[in-house]
């Protein structure tokens, strides 16, 4: 039976999810919600999470010495190497278990958490290497579409037209021109991997994907849209409903790729135009004030439509055809 919110609440009446109060993330931040859901699911299913964190907002704000917001084993090494770091932890676990140096009756879950900077960009090599080597770990990307820790710079995940300090909307250039990297397909290209998108606004989908990742005999990867209210320039209380909107507008399609087999996990019966997702965020406001704003939004609409159709086609084409 899948975990429900009520069930989780019962389980966590007298225990913490691994993350405690007193962290110093911005009010309304999506990242701690993402992390909390992942850890609660693992703990509820009897796993002992051991976690690695890439440098970023959440890493900084949760461990300001001598304070730590973690009650699970936690390691931060650097910005670009959380996947390699957790691969070392996981390997140590296998080695020590094999040689009888640690008890073998525990069910560990090795998590690596990183933002989009640590995942799409500077940490991509480390991530690719760890996945290719087949370590059993779960990589959770909390994707807030920019380098928010350093104050809203462009990342490989920033959508076109979003105003950032290193790709600002200017008189000549309308902000970032390039589309987001398709990180899930990059990861899914490693063949023996479970890769999926998720977001807190669709909690049951998110929880079931964590469950699947926990039991997957190999590396798994979840790209979780996790708004940064500050630099998306949305009200602090809209963190959750904006991610729902992202799904309803095809901006953030929910799907998974299990060893090459695509499955779209949420198929809304009707969609909203992507402009609804764009217009609620003031990071797009400078763009929207430009005379050709409509054109740019049309382009984005066409892109999300095409990507959706492509996903459905991939689902059809890869059905029952796992690469392994």
């Amino acid at each position: 039976m899948p975990l429900t919110m009520k069930k989780l609440a019962e389980i966590f009446t007298d225990k913490d999810p691994g993350l405690t109060q007193g962290h110093r993330m911005c009010p309304g931040c999506g990242a701690p919600i993402t992390v909390k859901i992942a850890l609660m699911t693992a703990k509820a299913l009897g796993y002992e999470p051991v976690i690695g964190f890439a440098t970023g907002c959440m890493e900084v704000s949760s461990t300001i010495y001598p304070y730590t917001s973690w009650t699970v084993p936690y390691i931060h090494n650097a910005f670009e190497n959380v996947a390699a770091t957790i691969s070392g932890v996981e390997t140590a676990y296998r080695s020590l278990k094999k040689s009888g140096k640690i008890p073998s009756d525990r069910k560990y879950a090795f998590f690596a958490f990183g933002g989009d900077g640590g995942t799409y960009d500077i940490g991509l090599q480390s991530l690719s290497g760890a996945i290719e080597r087949g370590h059993k770990f779960i990589y959770i990307l909390y994707d807030n579409e920019g380098y928010m820790n350093t104050g809203n710079q462009r990342s490989g995940s920033t959508p076109p037209g979003a105003d950032t300090t290193t790709a600002p909307v200017g008189k000549k250039i309308p902000g970032k021109l390039q589309l987001k990297k398709n990180i899930v397909e990059i990861v899914a290209g490693h063949e023996y991997v479970y890769a999926a998108t998720a977001t807190a606004g669709e909690p049951m989908d998110f929880i079931s994907k964590i469950e699947k990742a926990l039991t997957f005999e190999g590396p798994s990867f979840l790209a979780v849209l996790s708004p940064c209210v500050r630099y998306w320039r949305v009200p602090e209380n809209r963190t959750i409903d904006i991610t729902k909107l992202a799904v309803q507008t095809k901006y953030w399609p929910l799907y998974e790729v299990d060893r090459g087999v695509y499955k779209v996990t949420r198929k809304p019966s009707s969609f909203k135009p992507v402009s609804e997702f764009v217009k609620v965020q003031d990071r797009f406001r400078p763009l929207l004030q430009k005379p050709d704003a409509e054109e740019i939004i049309d382009e984005l609409q066409q892109y999300v439509d095409k990507r959706w159709e492509r996903l459905l086609a991939l689902e059809e084409a890869t059905k029952d055809k796992p690469v392994r």
């Binding site: 461990t63 525990r106 480390s126």
Partner: protein, 390 residues
């Protein structure tokens, strides 16, 4: 005790020591001239000779990153690298020391790019001299074997908890075949013993946080701890060296004085060149010249007291550096010179940079440098070059 004497390369000596140490985790990436170490070790793993789990990482950066994870988890962890590989690790080399993880890493010294060059000099390891790692230097393959085994004990000692680089000269030692006395497996195993993990991540009963944001209120205190741990190395090294002597008959120290008793002209150097210097010292002694050698085994922490003790009152001291420090005095020279600031009777000092990018240093060049000292032609703040066309 049964000792095996084998003709092996420095790379084999390192790999063989690693086999006997049998770390829990090895993460490594090949790079010339370190490659044979990871190849030999991979074969031990593939043949089931060791129980070690090997992580065939995609870069040196990930090698050191994975080892930080493995060592924090509570595993005995090792890697090996050279030159650009070490440079790529650099950021994590510091982190490994700062997190006080007892990782041991053979480093096969090679010139740093650019231009790219695969041959020996010490620029790679010198770029890490302030990283918080203990740095040991080997004259030959025997020392590679011995010091790699000793390094494990030093790194893991409760008063130390610092990583160690065991340096050997690229190709000259790593690929040269020499006689090496190998200890039996069980002797090495009982010497290195078992790692006693400190704050292991895998202890979920006692969850710890590694690598927090450490701001101006505590960062300095943590650095002071590292400074103190480095000071503790002297005492611990001596103790472990004594223990190693009992099982091997070979005695190590921070420095090795060679024909120093009455020496008036002394050379100071790191690595394989010391062997060549010994040869020249023997020759010059035959000619009645009072020359000697002070070989540096331990460069970090720097054995200042020994430098002062051995060099005070000598007529002249020549320091050889196999790396340059652009815009400053060469690293070993700078350290020796600064150590002698406080001594009452200062020798004449001279600095020679040699052997960059694998440039050969032969007995004639060493003799030339000694002759400069003997004829009192050294100038303390003039850097000279051995084997360079000028």
């Amino acid at each position: 005790m049964k000792l095996t004497r084998q003709a092996i390369t420095g790379a084999q000596a390192a790999a063989y020591a690693m086999k006997q140490i049998e770390p829990d985790v090895v993460a490594a990436y090949p790079i010339t001239p370190q490659t044979p170490i990871v190849e030999y070790f991979a074969k031990y793993v593939a043949d089931g000779v060791v129980k070690t789990e090997m992580i065939p990482v995609e870069s040196e950066h990930s090698a050191m990153s994975a080892l930080v994870g493995a060592a924090a988890a509570g595993a005995r962890a090792m890697t090996a690298t050279s030159a650009n590989g070490l440079a790529l690790m650099h950021e994590i080399v510091y982190i490994a020391a700062s997190l006080r993880l007892p990782i041991v890493m053979p480093v096969v010294n090679r010139a740093l790019s650019g231009p790219i060059n695969i041959h020996c000099d010490h620029s790679d390891t010198m770029a890490e001299r302030d990283s918080g790692w203990i740095q040991l230097f080997c004259e030959d393959a025997q020392e590679v074997y011995d010091l790699t085994i000793m390094a494990v004990r030093i790194a893991e000692h409760e008063n130390i908890r610092l990583p160690v680089m065991v340096n050997q000269d690229g190709f000259i030692i790593s690929h040269g075949v020499e006689a090496v006395e190998l200890l039996p497996d069980d002797v090495v195993k009982s010497f290195v013993g078992q790692l006693k993990p400190l704050y292991p991540l895998l202890d979920v009963e006692n969850p710890v946080t590694y690598g927090p944001l450490d701001l101006y209120d505590y960062y300095f205190e943590h650095k002071r701890q590292q400074i103190e741990a480095m000071k503790n190395v002297f005492e611990v090294f001596s103790k472990i060296s004594e223990e190693y002597y009992k099982i091997s008959g070979r005695k190590y120290d921070y420095v090795e004085p060679y024909k120093m008793e009455d020496a008036q002209y002394v050379m100071v150097a790191l690595g394989s060149t010391n062997g060549t210097i010994k040869y020249v010292v023997d020759q010059l002694r035959e000619e009645g010249k009072k020359v000697g050698l002070l070989k540096i085994w331990m460069f970090r922490p720097f054995p200042k007291a020994e430098i002062q003790r051995y060099l005070t009152g000598r007529k002249a001291v020549v320091v050889l550096d196999r790396s340059a420090s652009f815009g400053a005095e060469a690293p070993l020279y700078e350290a020796v010179k600064s150590s002698l600031y406080e001594v009452a009777s200062k020798p004449l000092l001279g600095s020679f940079v040699y052997g960059l990018g694998g440039r050969d240093v032969n007995p004639e060049l060493i003799r030339y440098a000694f002759e400069k000292a003997i004829s009192h032609e050294l100038v303390a703040d003039q850097e000279l070059y051995l084997g360079l066309r000028e």
